[in-house]
Structures are given as structure tokens and as C-alpha cells.
């Protein structure tokens, strides 16, 4: 029987996750929070002195939960990440130690797919430049704004047909696009054309939408070769992870007109401070916000609270990542 003087369970927070400050008060009313990001003491020391008893941590999708961090947390049983991606967590160590990892699951799939579609249309139909044309008082009515390009009837190549890729496919199909894809495995329940080879996918597509996880196989999978295969009118949209694209090669191809345009929410280095991309008109850039809507934010934090509460009450968790 727990006494009424029982302390709140303690959670170490790393990152912190974006918008953590919005839920900080509520979080602190339910848990004791070890804020690892704003200490004067170096992290290894902080963990050694303060985190020996900590069983659960919350991390953003950007903070690297390395083997070193994990070994500084000898009591760790649960890692809750706010992202869907897992490339920032040493899963081998988690498996070895029997640590449970939970992620965002498919909470964000719709938002990410919405942005992917939005970035593609924006590049093709010049929505952002069009808005600039009007707001900068350049519109004279003489047909002076350049034409865009049609979506309907075009071939859309999706790299990675997981829950996000499927959501993107559904949306782009409604615009009359033909869907093709490359994925680890063929999906027999969809009518889309499967390409085993990503270069063949690029050759056969007018656009490439990158929806895959980042891992050793997908790092720089979109390189100069693939971009040239996509071609002069091709558009690349990236809402996965920056390193899926060889960014230098992309910039080079854009500069030389070897591909038609790009819509990018992610970059090899974030936040993006300086880039030749800033000078280009046929690209649309966004600051890694594909998941950041009010609605998804709320759903994410409801999930996090639910999982931490369940953990401390020994109840089943949601969105457990299979580590076997």
C-alpha cells in the first residue's frame, strides 16, 4: 500500500522534445522531472550523480540516446520517444538490456502525408512564389506569372510504403497521379506498381516522395545517379530524414537544372542556417514541422502521459517498438 507521502515517479527528459514547455506544468504535476538539457554539469556527470534510479526517460527525436547514455542509466526500463523514427536510439543496447521503447506509431501519418502533398503541389503549381508575386505587387494581369505543371496523370514514386507512404499514395491518387513505389517488401494488398530497384523507380517516375526510415541502407540512397534518373522535370519531396538525400548532390543537380525542383522538410544538418537552397525559386523549404500541428501535438502528449502512467502502474503500453 503506497503512503500518501509517496513521491511522484521520476522521469529524465532529454532534448527536450519540441514544445515541451507547453506541457511542462502538467508534466511536472504528475512526475518529477530531471531536465537534462539545462544543467551546467556535463551530461555524463549529471546522469552519474542523479539518474542511477531512473526507470523511464522521455526523449525527442533528435537527441541521440547512445550506448553511453543508456549505460549511465542502470535502472532504465522504458524509453519514450516523441518521434516515429528510431535512428537516434541505440536499439542494440535496448535489446541487450531488455529496455522497452515506445514511439509515436502512426499518430502523425496524416499530418506528414498532408505536408508531403502540400510541398509537392507547392513546387509544381508555384503556390509560394505565386503568393510572393501578389504580395510584392508584381501582378499586372498580363499573364506575367510563369505557368506551373499539372499533377494529374503524372507518375509518383514513393520510397518506403509504410503508414506514411500509404497515406501519401492515397492523397496523390485522388489528384489523378499514378502511384509506383519501392519498399523493403512488396505490398500485395495495394494495386501500385512495385519496383525492386530505386533507380528504376526514379526512371519511371515524375516525382519521388521519400517516406522511408533512416538506416544504414537508406543513408544517401538518393544520390546523383538517382536524381539524374528522375530527370530535368522531376521533383523530389523529403519528409523522412535529411540524410536519406545526398544534399550536396541535390543542390548541384538543382543548380544545373538536372532536376526540376524540390520540397524539403528535413536536411542533413538542422536547423538549416545557410544553404544555396535559399537562393532557389524552384524549391520549398520547411523547418522539420511535418508532425507539428496542434491536433497531433495534443494526441502525442496524451499518448506520452498514458504510457508513463501505465508504466508506473505496470499496465500495458501503447506503440511498443518490436526489438526482436
Amino acid at each position: 500500500m503506497e503512503s500518501t507521502g509517496e513521491r511522484l515517479p521520476e522521469i529524465a527528459v532529454f532534448g527536450p522534445p519540441a514544445f515541451f514547455r507547453k506541457i511542462e506544468k502538467e508534466f511536472s504535476s504528475r512526475f518529477r522531472v530531471l531536465r537534462t538539457w539545462n544543467s551546467d554539469i556535463p551530461l555524463p556527470q549529471l546522469l552519474a550523480s542523479e539518474a542511477g534510479h531512473i526507470e523511464a526517460i522521455l526523449t525527442s527525436g533528435v537527441f541521440r540516446v547512445t550506448a553511453e547514455v543508456i549505460s549511465s542509466l542502470p535502472s532504465l526500463h522504458l524509453i519514450v520517444t516523441t518521434s516515429r523514427g528510431l535512428d537516434h536510439i541505440d536499439l542494440t543496447q535496448c535489446r541487450r538490456r531488455g529496455i522497452t521503447v515506445t514511439n509515436a506509431g502512426t499518430i502523425f501519418s496524416d499530418d506528414v502525408a498532408d505536408l508531403a502533398a502540400g510541398l509537392l503541389i507547392d513546387v509544381l503549381r508555384k503556390i509560394t512564389p505565386g503568393n510572393g508575386h501578389v504580395k510584392n505587387r508584381f501582378w499586372t494581369g498580363d499573364g506575367d506569372f510563369p505557368l506551373g505543371f499539372k499533377l494529374g496523370g503524372k507518375k509518383c514514386g514513393i520510397v518506403g510504403l509504410g503508414s506514411i507512404g500509404l497515406a501519401v499514395a492515397k492523397r496523390l491518387q485522388s489528384f489523378g497521379c499514378q502511384i509506383l513505389y519501392n519498399s523493403r517488401n512488396k505490398n500485395h494488398s495495394v494495386p501500385y506498381k512495385f519496383h525492386t530497384d530505386i533507380k528504376e523507380l526514379a526512371m519511371d517516375s515524375d516525382f519521388l516522395i521519400l517516406c522511408c526510415a533512416l538506416n544504414n541502407e537508406t543513408r544517401h540512397i538518393i544520390n546523383r545517379d538517382i536524381l539524374l534518373a528522375l530527370g530535368k522535370k522531376g521533383v523530389v519531396v523529403n519528409i523522412s530524414r535529411g540524410p536519406v538525400i545526398d544534399e550536396k548532390a541535390l543542390i548541384h543537380c538543382l543548380k544545373l537544372g538536372e532536376i526540376g525542383g524540390a520540397g524539403l522538410d528535413v536536411f542533413e544538418r538542422e536547423p538549416l542556417f545557410t544553404s544555396e537552397l535559399f537562393e532557389m525559386e524552384n524549391v520549398v523549404l520547411s523547418p522539420h514541422v511535418a508532425v507539428f500541428t496542434e491536433e497531433s501535438f495534443k494526441a502525442m502528449f496524451d499518448l506520452i502521459f498514458a504510457n508513463f502512467n501505465s508504466f508506473f502502474m505496470n499496465k500495458p503500453l501503447l506503440n511498443v517498438v518490436p526489438l526482436e
Binding site: 508555384k126 499539372k150 514541422v289
Partner: protein, 313 residues
């Protein structure tokens, strides 16, 4: 048909101009009003007009052209043409229905995503190097929002089909209720606006639909509602729209059309929840060429004594 005079009015469109020049006796006047001496000089030679969006064709132009037989519109809308006058004089009118439906529908969805997810603002944020020191604020999810469509014709239906793929429940108002769909019908625009999150104007412009989006409708749509206009500027009471946006009584707007193009109320320029386009609804290379081909086919059909492909009158 080098003895057939065709006058093209409106903004430049290279492919169409080239083809008209190649096939007919070609006259070109880009803007309005066309000067009297131009008309006087060429009046007898003009047998056809190719007209673009925004070009007003009424008695002032029709009366002085004794040999005018057909007006082939390089657009779907024919609201700028005095149809009564044309009927009186037996002048045929054609348009380009359906060709640009998909593109107009795509533009409507593009505006929805751009407004809700603040794409342009995101792009500026990165290029202005604000990402280093600031977090971009949370935006609004599009998927699942209720979409209300004014006019469920071919364009309205194309918009509905796309919005459904974003899991948006669809409601609409139309001249008559359409069977065989799962969309909810409302009999007034105000009711429709009260029951949706995003209101899209997709109907024809005519005396009944002028200013169909007025103060009452805007208030019903409300401070979290978004208006998308890919119809005509005349569908919306523009001063009411501007004051509602400036005062925060309306949540946002995506506008491709305005009451007095290319003039756009400057109060809208600084608003992050407003996306403005220079009437590009159908403006793709592919669609423009398809529409131009249809204009050319209609002209050739008429002057060869064959049936028109897409007559309005």
C-alpha cells in the same frame, strides 16, 4: 482560313497566339478597353474573338463588329460576356469546360494545405534564418477537417474527391441535391458555413451567386474557419472578407480570384493566415495547351460549317 479574322484579347498565351497567327488572320489586343480607332480600322475583318478571363465583351465591342460570328472563350467561365447580346445577334459562344477541372480542384486543395500548414511562412522562416533561434509555431491539421463546397458541379465534385482522400467529411450546397454520394446537403450557404471548417467556392458566377459569401456567411464560418475561393472574385463580398480577416473574425483564406483583378486589397498582404495567388487556377503548361487546342477546334469547326464541340450558346 487566312481570310478569317480572329481577335485575341487578354493576357499573353504563347502557344495559342502562335497557332492563331498560323491559321487565321490574327489581331491582338491585350488589355481593355480596346481603342475606338483600332476597332474602326479592323472592324470589318473580325469574324471571331478569342477571349480570356476578365475580358468584358459587351455591346461596346460587339456592336461595332458587323461580321463577328463566334466568341471562343479560353476559359470555363463566360460571366464577362453579354450573352443576351450574343443571342440577339446570333453570335455563337464556346468555352473550355472540363479541361481545367482537375487543375482548379488541385489549386483549391493546394490553397487549403498552404493556409492551414502555413507553407509559405515556413519557407520564409527557413530562408530568413529564423530556424536557428526560434521554434516554428504549431499549425492546424488538414486531415479530418469538415469541407463545405458551394457548387457541386464538375469542379466541386473534383474538389470533394480530393478532400475525401484527406479524410475530410464533405458537405455542400448546390442548385439541387445530388443523389448517389455520401455528402451532406445544406439548403443555405449560411448553414453550410456553420457546419464546416473550410468553405470552398466552386460555383458559376451569375446574378444569384454574386456575393454569395457575405458578412453573414463569413460570421457563420467563424474565427477558426477558412475560406477558399477558386471561383470568381465576385462570389465574395471583398470588403467584408478583408475586415473579417484583419479583425480575426475569420480564421484564414486562400484566394486565387479577386473582385478587381489584378488589384488585391493590400491589408491582406501582411496576414500569415492568408495565401494569395494571381489567378492561376488553371495555369499549367499542359492544361493551357489543352484548352488552347479546344479553342482552335471550336473555331475551325465553326468556319468549316461543322458542329461546335463545346458551345455555351
Amino acid at each position: 482560313m487566312k481570310n478569317i479574322g480572329v481577335l485575341m484579347m487578354g493576357p499573353s498565351y504563347g502557344y495559342l497566339e502562335q497557332e492563331l497567327e498560323r491559321r487565321f488572320k490574327f489581331f491582338r489586343y491585350g488589355s481593355q478597353p480596346i481603342p475606338r480607332d483600332f476597332i474602326a480600322l479592323h472592324a470589318e475583318s473580325i469574324h471571331a474573338i478569342v477571349s480570356c478571363v476578365g475580358m468584358i465583351i459587351d455591346a461596346r465591342l460587339i456592336d461595332p463588329l458587323p461580321n463577328l460570328k463566334i466568341i471562343a472563350c479560353f476559359s470555363v467561365g463566360v460571366d464577362c460576356i453579354d450573352m443576351k447580346k450574343c443571342a440577339e445577334k446570333g453570335i455563337r459562344v464556346t468555352n473550355t469546360p472540363d479541361v481545367p477541372n482537375a487543375e482548379v480542384a488541385d489549386t483549391a486543395i493546394a490553397l487549403m494545405i498552404a493556409v492551414l500548414r502555413r507553407i509559405r511562412v515556413c519557407d520564409n522562416f527557413v530562408r530568413n534564418r529564423e530556424w536557428l533561434s526560434n521554434e516554428f509555431p504549431l499549425t492546424t491539421k488538414l486531415s479530418g477537417k469538415r469541407v463545405g463546397i458551394i457548387g457541386l458541379g464538375r469542379i466541386g465534385t473534383a474538389i470533394a474527391k480530393r478532400a475525401e482522400a484527406f479524410n475530410c467529411p464533405i458537405s455542400y450546397i448546390s442548385r439541387s441535391e445530388k443523389p448517389n454520394n455520401s455528402y451532406k446537403y445544406y439548403s443555405t450557404v449560411t448553414e453550410l458555413a456553420s457546419n464546416c471548417d473550410i468553405l470552398v467556392v466552386a460555383c458559376d458566377l451569375n446574378p444569384e451567386t454574386r456575393h454569395i459569401v457575405n458578412r453573414e456567411v463569413i460570421e457563420a464560418l467563424g474565427a477558426r474557419g477558412v475560406l477558399i475561393n477558386i471561383g470568381r472574385g465576385g462570389h465574395v463580398h471583398e470588403p467584408e472578407l478583408v475586415s473579417a480577416l484583419v479583425e480575426g473574425r475569420l480564421g484564414g483564406a486562400g484566394l486565387d480570384v479577386f473582385e478587381d483583378e489584378p488589384h488585391v486589397p493590400e491589408e491582406l498582404f501582411g496576414l500569415e493566415n492568408v495565401v494569395l495567388l494571381p489567378h492561376v487556377g488553371t495555369n499549367t503548361v499542359e492544361t493551357g495547351n489543352d484548352m488552347a487546342d479546344l479553342v482552335l477546334k471550336n473555331l475551325e469547326a465553326h468556319f468549316s460549317g461543322k458542329s461546335l464541340l463545346t458551345p455555351v450558346l
